[in-house]
Symmetry: C2
Subunit: 208 residues, 2 copies
DNA sequence: ATATCAACAGGACGATTGACCTGTTTGAGA
DNA sequence: TCTCAAACAGGTCAATCGTCCTGTTGATAT
């Protein structure tokens, strides 16, 4: 019996490491997570870890560029493309997040925001990677607003500025929700943003 | 010569430590700051540090309850009390922050947000302390909106919900600004919030 | 078959962390 | 004046950090 044959599968090993790192970085934080802890979670030896990720910061960069960027794409950009207009998409996205948080029972925060707060001051390369994810997110939202303008669904808005506000409101609401372990900030921001967008999308005139 | 007389001034020593800790926690982060580093910055011995703060988390709690809460009070609650109405105050506060950040040339982020992201998942007592600062902040803003309602300056708004949106937009904009080392997210959110509040404070009627 | 290198195992490395120790000095009350 | 607890000095402690080492296995090319 040669049952303890060594399995050579670099892609799978690398994926296990990055998966474990993404989960740990998002829930516990980058600095609070040790390489030894990740080795155990991913069930890889020190040699394998060093082979794929000689330094922790390379693992951090991989998590940002692969997992965090993908998470933003899935939760925000895809629904944006699927919905008819921006307000519908934004309300749907907030609803999805709120539902999932209530199901899990705890608020671990926005992955992008979590990592950005912690590492952006220490490592310029990570900061750039995180900043570009924010930029992609905001530009996708801005483009959606622009589409609504082109389709005459709305007039008199600044797509870029409005996109910044939505992204900021989401990130901030998630931060407050995380600090209080309470989803209500997200619910409140969802309602306020919906009302704000509704008033912009349904034209009004001054009454004075 | 007895020139090296030991100076006994517990209040001053404690204040030096907390000052150094607040500065370091806000700019570098809680976990990224070592106790030895703080001892050097505050020029205190290991014995003095252990006497005043036997554990790091007690220092963290002191920073949150004394310095972070005070910072929020000064930058947000005081201008809120000084201004005629909420929109004026909010625009002033954003303007102050933007000016100071442009003067400094770097964005270290919102002190409350920075600490909340990092420690709220590890220490329940710190999380409660941070959450209560968020609550005080939001309630002060909500009370100001209520005052404006009582004074007939505005109608048809939900003070609590609107306060949540403003706090979230500020926190989130600061997070994006920090990640990109760029004040424009704050400028954009300032403009959008000003427009939003202006439309709520100057009544409009549907035009369709 | 043999050479070769990526992939992996297991552990050791120095550095640094937060905590805490014993001993000394100071100021205030008895 | 004497006592004693608070305040402080200086250094040590085990634990853990991230990194890297040597050695072995497996797949691939020739």
């Amino acid at each position: 019996m040669t049952g303890n044959r060594r399995t050579i599968d670099p892609k799978a090993v690398r994926r296990r490491i990055v998966d474990a790192a993404y989960d740990a970085f998002v829930t516990q934080g980058y600095l609070a997570t040790g390489m030894l802890e990740l080795r155990e979670k991913a069930s890889v030896s020190g040699g394998a870890m060093a082979h794929h990720f000689p330094a922790k910061r390379e693992l951090g960069l991989a998590v940002i560029r692969n997992r965090v960027a993908e998470a933003v794409r899935q939760t925000w950009i895809e629904p944006l493309d699927a919905c008819a207009d921006a307000p519908t998409a934004i309300d749907l996205i907030f609803g999805n997040i709120v539902s999932e948080l209530m199901r899990k029972g705890s608020v671990s925060g926005c992955p992008l925001n979590n990592m950005a707060m912690e590492v952006s001051r220490h490592d310029e390369e990570m900061r750039d990677a995180l900043s570009s994810v924010f930029a992609v997110w905001q530009e996708a939202l801005s483009a959606k607003f622009q589409k609504d303008i082109d389709a005459n669904r709305v007039v008199g808005i600044d797509p870029g500025r409005l996109a910044t506000l939505v992204v900021a409101a989401y990130s901030g609401a998630m931060a407050i929700a995380k600090a209080g372990q309470d989803v209500r900030p997200l619910i409140n921001c969802r309602a306020e943003l919906a009302a704000l967008l509704a008033s912009k999308y349904s034209p009004t005139v001054p009454a004075g």
